[in-house]
C-alpha cells in the first residue's frame, strides 16, 4: 500500500482536543467526522505548503519561510488567520530567543567548569552532556518520539 501524502495524519488525540475546545460543552463528535476533520487538516497543510512554496519560488528562495506561509493564507482566502498567526509567530520568536540565550548561558557556565576539571573525565560530566543534548533537542524542534 503506497503511502500517499494524505495518509500522513496528525495525532487523533490532539485533533479531538482542539475540536472539543472549539465547540460548546456537551457537544460530541462522531468518529467519522473526527477522522474526516483530521484528513482535512492534513490536506490543508499540503495545500498551504504548495501555495507557500509558490511564493518562495517567486522570491527565488529555496527555503520556505514564515512570510511565505502568511502570504499563502491570504491567497487561500484565510485572511482571518493572518493576525492570530502573526501574534503566534511573535511569541514563538521570543520563546526561541529565550531558549537560545538560556542554553548559551548554560554552555558558558559549563565551559568554565570543564576548564578546571579538564584532566579527569568524571561520570558527572558525561551525565551533564546527556542533559545538554536533551535540552538542545528540545529547543530545536518538538520532535516526536516514535509511537
Amino acid at each position: 500500500m503506497a503511502e500517499r501524502p494524505e495518509d500522513l495524519n496528525l495525532p487523533n488525540a490532539v485533533i479531538t482536543r482542539i475540536i472539543k475546545e472549539a465547540l460548546p460543552d456537551g457537544v460530541n463528535i462522531s468518529k467519522e467526522a473526527r477522522s474526516a476533520i483530521s484528513r482535512a487538516a492534513s490536506v490543508f497543510v499540503l495545500y498551504a505548503t504548495s501555495c507557500a512554496n509558490n511564493f518562495a519560488m517567486k522570491g527565488k528562495r529555496k527555503t520556505l519561510n514564515a512570510t511565505d506561509v502568511l502570504s499563502a493564507m491570504e491567497e487561500m482566502e484565510f485572511q482571518r488567520f493572518v493576525t492570530p498567526l502573526k501574534e503566534a509567530l511573535e511569541a514563538y520568536r521570543r520563546e526561541q530567543k529565550g531558549k537560545k540565550e538560556a542554553s548559551e548561558q548554560k554552555k558558558k557556565d559549563k565551559d568554565k567548569k570543564t576548564d578546571s576539571e579538564d584532566q579527569d573525565k568524571s561520570r558527572d560530566e558525561d551525565n551533564d552532556e546527556d542533559e545538554e543534548r536533551l535540552e538542545e533537542e528540545e529547543q530545536n524542534e518538538e520532535e516526536e518520539v516514535d509511537n
Binding site: V45, L64, F78, E142
Partner: protein, 121 residues
C-alpha cells in the same frame, strides 16, 4: 526515599536516576503535549508530523522552522474553524453530535473550504 520516588514519578520522568539534575526541563520529549514552559503552549500539533507533511511535497526543497510552526498553528485554527462551521449545521438539525454529513455540508457551503472537495473520501 518513597517521597523522592513519588516526586520523580509526578514530574513525569519515569527513570529513577540518582542524579538530581538542576534543569527541570530534562524530561524527555513525550508525545503529544509539548510542554516547554508553563503557559507557553504555542502549538499543540507536533511539529515533526507537520514537517513530514511539508516534505511530502516534491516541489519543496527546504522549510524553515518558523514556517513549520506557523503551518502547525494555521492547521489548528483551521480545525477550530471547520469544527465550528460544521457545528452550525448540526445545531440546525438539533443534534448534539457532529456527524460526517455536517462536515460535508460545511465544505459545500463555505467558499474557503472548496479545496477540500473530493479529498476526504
Amino acid at each position: 526515599m518513597a517521597a523522592a520516588a513519588a516526586a520523580a514519578a509526578a514530574s513525569g520522568s519515569g527513570t529513577p536516576r540518582e542524579e538530581d539534575g538542576p534543569a527541570g526541563e530534562a524530561a524527555a520529549s513525550q508525545p503529544p503535549a509539548p510542554t516547554t514552559a508553563p503557559g507557553a503552549r504555542l502549538s499543540r500539533l507536533p511539529l515533526a508530523r507537520v514537517k513530514a507533511l511539508v516534505k511530502a511535497d516534491p516541489d519543496v526543497t527546504l522549510a524553515g522552522q518558523e514556517a513549520i510552526f506557523i503551518l502547525a498553528r494555521a492547521a489548528e485554527l483551521f480545525v477550530e474553524t471547520i469544527a465550528k462551521d460544521a457545528y452550525c449545521c448540526a445545531q440546525q438539525g438539533k443534534r448534539k453530535t457532529l456527524q460526517r454529513r455536517d462536515l460535508d455540508n460545511a465544505i459545500e457551503a463555505v467558499d474557503e473550504f472548496a479545496f477540500l472537495e473530493g479529498t476526504l473520501d
